[in-house]
Amino acid sequence: MAIFIDNDTKLVVQGITGRDGSFHTREMMAYGTNVVAGVTPGKGGQTFEGPNGKAVPIFNAMDEAVAATGANASVIYVPPAFAAGAILEAADSGVSFVVAITEGVPVLDMARAHAFAKDKGVRVLGPNCPGLISPGKSKVGILPGKIVTEGPIGLVSRSGTLTYEAVFQLTGAGLGQTTCVGIGGDPLIGTNFIDCLAAFEADPDTTGVVMIGEIGGTDEQEAAEYVSAHMTKPVVGFIAGRTAPPGRQMGHAGAIISGASGTAEDKIKAFEENGISVAQRPADLVGLIQDALA
C-alpha cells in the first residue's frame, strides 16, 4: 500500500503542453504513472507524445478530460497567475486529489481556492510543492524517480531538494519508502503534516515515518502533538533553519520567523517533548529511524 497515490491513480496533467508540464509528464510516464489526459485551453483534440510511443489525449477543460477518461487526480504545472484558477477548475471536475506544483501563487488566491476545495471534499497538495511518489507504483510531480525505492518508511517534508537529500540517504542505507510527500513551502497549503501522519498511521505497509520541517508557522508543533496523541508508529524528524535570522523570508514564502513564533528551536523542542527524535544533520535521520524501528 501507499498513501494518496498508487496503481489506481489516473492522472490529468493541467498545463501539459508547457515547458515544465511536458518535461515532467514524460518523466512521470517513464516512471509508470498512469497519465490519462492533459488539459491546455485551446489545444483540445491534440495529442501529447509521451515516451515509448505512448500518447495522451489533450482536452480544453478539466470536466471534458474527466468525463472522457475517468481520471481521479490532477497535477498542475500552470504559471502562478492561473494556478489558483486551475485548482478551482480541478476541484469542480470530479477528481478527488489535486497536486499543485506551481510556486509563487498569490496567497489570497489560495485562501479562496482552499475554501472552495474543502467544500467540494477535494484534497489539495501544495501549492509550491514537489508532489509525491509511491515507489514502484506512481509518481505525481517532480520528485526524481531514481532516488526512491520500495520499502516501509513514510516520508513527509515541506521542502523539495531537502526531501531528495533525505530520501537519498534512506535509500543509500537500504531503507525503502511507501510514499514520499512534499507538502510545500507556502504559508497556505492544502495538505499538512497531520493529514500525512494520519494517512501513514492508517497505511499497513508503513512502519515508521520521517518528518522534515522548517522555520515558519506552527504546523510542526501541532503535528508533534498529534504524534504523541494519535500515532502508534515511530516518527523521527529534522528541522531546517536553525541558523535563519528572524523576519527574513528564506526562499519559501512560508519560511519566515515572525516575531517569536516559528523558530527552529520551538519546533525541535515540540518534537522532542512529544517523543520525536530530532536529527542534527540530514545524514543522522538514517540512524534515528533504524533505532526507532529496532
Partner: protein, 378 residues
C-alpha cells in the same frame, strides 16, 4: 515586501480611511517648510522598515517649524536596527482621546485573512496577545464573502461604547479589508486608531506588508519598493531571480532549493563555521544564474570559502558545472570553491569540472566540512 508608513497611508487614504495629511522630507529644511505650511504642532517620523521607531528616538513631537527642522536633522541619518533613516514623514499632531489597535493578517492555521482588534492601542500587540489575550477580539474572514457589515460592527463594538464612534470604526474596518485585498497584502495594521475630543476616529499610524507573489499584477505596489533599505547584493539577487539573504559569516553558500539551502547553512554551523549567506539558485539551472550567484557571493568581502551543494532534480548538474566554469572565466574569484553535485546529469557535470581543474564531492557532509576548514585557513 514591507512598505513605509507614508506609503501604507497612501493606500489607506485611497480606500477612504481617514488619515491625517503628511509629506515626506529628506532634508531638515524640507521638514521645516512642510511644518510651516501645516502650522501648529507636527510629528516628525522616521521612515524605515522597522518596528520600535519611537523607542529608538525616531519619532518626535515638534511645537513649531524650527523645532521640526531640528528634529529632522537629528532623525535623518539616524541608525534604527541597522537601517539608516533617509526620509521623515512630517504630519500635523492630533489631539488624542483614546488609542485602539486594528490589524488584519493571513492566518496560516485558519487559511484566511483574520482581523485582530483591541482597545489597547499604541502598544506592541504581540505582547498584548501573549499576556492578556482577553483584550483582543479576532475574526476570520471568509474569503468568498469578504468582511460582512455585521462582522465589522461586532469588531468595532469591542473597541468603543459610543455608537457614533462604533459607526465610524465599522466603516474603517471594512475599508481596511478592501485596502488589504487590493494591495495584495499579507498584513495591514492601524496602530493606533485614535479618537479625538471632537469625536472623530482616525488612523495616525499605518503598516503594511505585501505578498511578493502579488507584485506581478500590481505594478503600482511594486513601484513602492525601497531598495535603499536592503544590501545592494540582495537587490542584485532579486533582479537575477535568486533568493538571497546576506548573513554575517564567512562560508559562502550556493544551493538549489530553499530547504536544502537552510539545511546546508545549519550544517556549516554544525561543523563549527558561520554561513555568509542564504542563497537558493532555484529549480531552473541556467548557467547565467550560477554566474550571477558567484558574483553576489564574491562581492561580500567576508567570504573566505564558497561551497556549492546541488541536488539535481529539475536542476541539471551539468548546467551548474558550466555556470561555475563560466564564472571563473568571467570574474576573478579569490576564495576557494568546493563543490558537491549529485542527481540529474551528475557524470557529465563531473567531467566538465575535472577538465576545468575542480574536484567534486558527492556527500553533503564532506563538502560542508571542507568549506568550513578552508574558511578557517586549514
Amino acid at each position: 515586501m514591507d512598505i513605509h508608513e507614508y506609503q501604507a497611508k497612501e493606500r489607506f487614504r485611497a480606500a477612504g480611511i481617514p488619515v491625517p495629511p503628511g509629506e515626506i522630507a529628506t532634508t531638515p529644511e524640507q521638514a521645516e517648510s512642510i511644518a510651516a505650511q501645516y502650522g501648529g504642532m507636527v510629528v516628525v517620523k522616521a521612515q524605515v522598515h522597522s518596528g520600535g521607531r519611537g523607542k529608538a528616538g525616531g519619532v518626535k513631537l515638534a511645537k513649531d517649524a524650527s523645532e521640526a527642522k531640528e528634529h529632522a536633522a537629528a532623525i535623518l541619518g539616524m541608525d534604527i536596527k541597522g537601517l539608516t533613516v533617509e526620509k521623515v514623514l512630517v504630519t500635523p499632531a492630533e489631539d488624542i482621546d483614546t488609542e485602539a489597535y486594528v490589524g488584519i493578517l493571513v492566518d496560516r492555521k485558519k487559511q484566511a485573512a483574520t482581523f485582530m482588534v483591541s482597545a489597547e492601542g499604541g502598544v506592541d500587540i504581540e505582547a498584548v496577545a501573549a499576556e492578556t489575550p482577553e483584550l483582543i477580539r479576532k475574526l476570520t474572514v471568509d474569503p468568498r464573502y469578504g468582511i460582512l457589515p455585521h462582522q465589522a460592527f461586532w469588531l468595532a463594538n469591542f473597541l468603543y461604547e459610543d455608537p457614533a464612534l462604533i459607526k465610524q470604526a465599522s466603516k474603517i474596518i471594512g475599508q481596511l479589508y478592501t485596502s488589504f485585498i487590493e494591495s495584495g497584502s499579507s498584513m495591514a495594521e492601524i496602530n493606533p486608531l485614535i479618537t479625538t475630543p471632537a469625536g472623530e476616529v482616525k488612523a495616525i499610524d499605518a503598516k503594511m506588508s505585501i505578498d511578493e507573489s502579488e507584485l506581478f499584477r500590481r505594478p503600482e505596489v511594486e513601484a513602492m519598493r525601497d531598495t535603499s533599505s536592503e544590501p545592494a547584493s540582495e537587490t542584485k539577487a532579486r533582479e537575477a531571480g535568486l533568493s538571497y539573504v546576506k548573513l554575517d559569516g564567512d562560508v559562502g553558500c550556493c544551493v538549489n532549493g530553499a530547504g536544502l539551502a537552510m539545511a546546508t547553512m545549519d550544517l556549516v554551523k554544525y561543523y563549527g563555521g558561520e554561513p555568509a549567506n542564504f542563497l537558493d539558485i532555484g529549480g531552473s539551472s541556467n548557467p547565467d544564474k550560477v554566474v550571477a550567484a558567484l558574483e553576489i557571493i564574491t562581492s561580500d568581502p567576508n567570504v573566505k570559502s564558497i561551497l556549492f551543494n546541488i541536488f539535481g532534480g529539475i536542476t541539471r548538474c551539468d548546467d551548474v558545472a558550466n555556470g561555475i566554469v563560466e564564472a571563473t572565466r568571467r570574474i576573478d574569484i579569490k576564495p576557494p570553491i568546493v563543490i558537491r553535485l549529485t542527481g540529474t546529469n551528475e557524470e557529465k557535470a563531473l567531467e566538465i569540472l575535472h577538465e576545468a581543474g575542480f574536484s567534486a564531492y558527492t556527500s553533503m557532509d564532506e563538502v560542508v566540512e571542507k568549506a568550513v576548514q578552508l574558511a578557517q585557513g586549514n
